[in-house]
């Protein structure tokens, strides 16, 4: 059994490492893309809140388009070949109900994740997206496995991002 360290991933940040790590994060309308390299047995994950960076503020991985590119860059930096990478996508729930299309952040976050992965030519091998419930996921960077639990709506009104 391989010793595995734990890491909590905050929104707008990303993680990728050679060290086998169990990465936890909590998703509401945010989306997390997990990238895994089955050859090197390493993985990386991001956690973005909004779909597109529009030139305001810093170009941080708070935004899907930036977060996807930066995560791939980081994996390549760790020695991965882009053609070996596979992706899993989670999150994008509509935790706050709204009839106005522009506000459907979850849906738009999912769409940008798909678009970015397609343009980067990284196949999506698994996903759990949308719905109305938040998710807690645990990504094993050594095996690429992701464990997911839905979060009961009333029990956790706060702290969803």
């Amino acid at each position: 059994m391989i010793e595995i360290q734990k890491y909590f991933l905050y929104p707008s940040t990303l993680f990728a490492s050679h060290t086998p790590t169990s990465v936890n994060t909590i998703l509401g309308s945010c989306v997390a893309i997990c990238l895994y390299d089955p050859v090197l047995k390493i993985g990386g994950i991001n956690h973005f809140m909004l779909p597109l960076w529009n030139g305001q503020g810093l170009a941080s991985p708070k935004y899907g388009n930036i977060a996807a590119e930066k995560l791939v860059d980081k994996m390549l930096l760790l020695g991965s070949q882009k053609s070996n990478l596979i992706a899993k996508v989670f999150g994008g729930a509509e935790v706050i109900e709204s009839n106005i299309k522009v506000f459907n952040i979850g849906t738009r976050n999912i769409a940008i994740a798909y678009e970015m992965l397609e343009s980067l030519k990284i196949p999506i091998v698994a996903k759990s997206v949308g719905g109305k419930l938040g998710r807690k996921i645990e990504f094993n960077s050594f095996t690429g496995e992701v464990k997911q639990r839905f979060i009961d709506k009333d029990a956790s009104k706060n702290n969803l991002v």
Binding site: L14, N24, L58, A59, S60, P61, K62, S128, Q148, S156
Partner: protein, 299 residues
Amino acid sequence: MTNQLSDSDLLAELKQRFEENKKALEDLKNLNEELIQVNKKLEESESLKSHFVSNITNEIINPFTSILGLSKAILSVDKENWKRVFSMIALIHEEAFSLDFQFRNIFVAAKIEAGDIYPEIFTVDINNLVDSVLEAFKYEAKKKKLIFKVQHHERLDKTKSFVFKTDPEKLKLILSNLIRNAINFSFEDNQIEIKIWVSENDLKIYVKDYGIGISKENHTIIFDRFNRLDSGINSINRGHGLGLSVSKALIDMLKGRIEVDSEIEKGACFTIIIPESDAHSEGFASDANETFFSDVEEF
């Protein structure tokens, strides 16, 4: 079954469809305009980024040159002129201080853009923290004859100090940026007001200066990276336009917000509002609340 439309029905229907088309076109036009705007912004941001390196070269090389020159001068001062050393050391300190500050912003900005930064929550004595930031800017303020007027938050029970759960290092940098701006943009011989208070579990701090101010249309631009309203060669203000964008991103990370109240020539008041961090429920969802979760699925 006959399905005949009268002429007027037909006209009405056609009219309605025309209207819909027109509206769709209008929407499209608006979207296009938005896209053009965003594109322009991105281009600007990229070109600012490339200028940034050349701008920053001056910002770093100049202070270094002064520091080197001054310390060399100190080495060659005669013993009888030792008093001159004081003023030179003051200058070295000033240059090094501003350099240190620039670096801090640059490194934090790089970390934010790399997604490699997270809150580190402690129980913080806020009054103390604000005082220590002001202490660091004492000389800068003195140079422009500015006085800090601080209104601390007092607890009802005065024997206990006022503490708040947040990230002290991030808060320090946020405040330092606000205070540095307040000093830079103040007119001489004035005061800078700082007030700390708590309402509804939110920590609020404002920094108010009496200086050149910011026009309404520029209230959002100031938070963009590398953007400075006045960056001409004759600009009296140094800096690289990273401070406020860094502060904004850090405040975001602490789930807070920042408000600006300012008009040209009427000074500026920046208020930060930061909720108390709930470090227990934040992250590390411990086994204690696993009961809230449904069954585990594997992917």
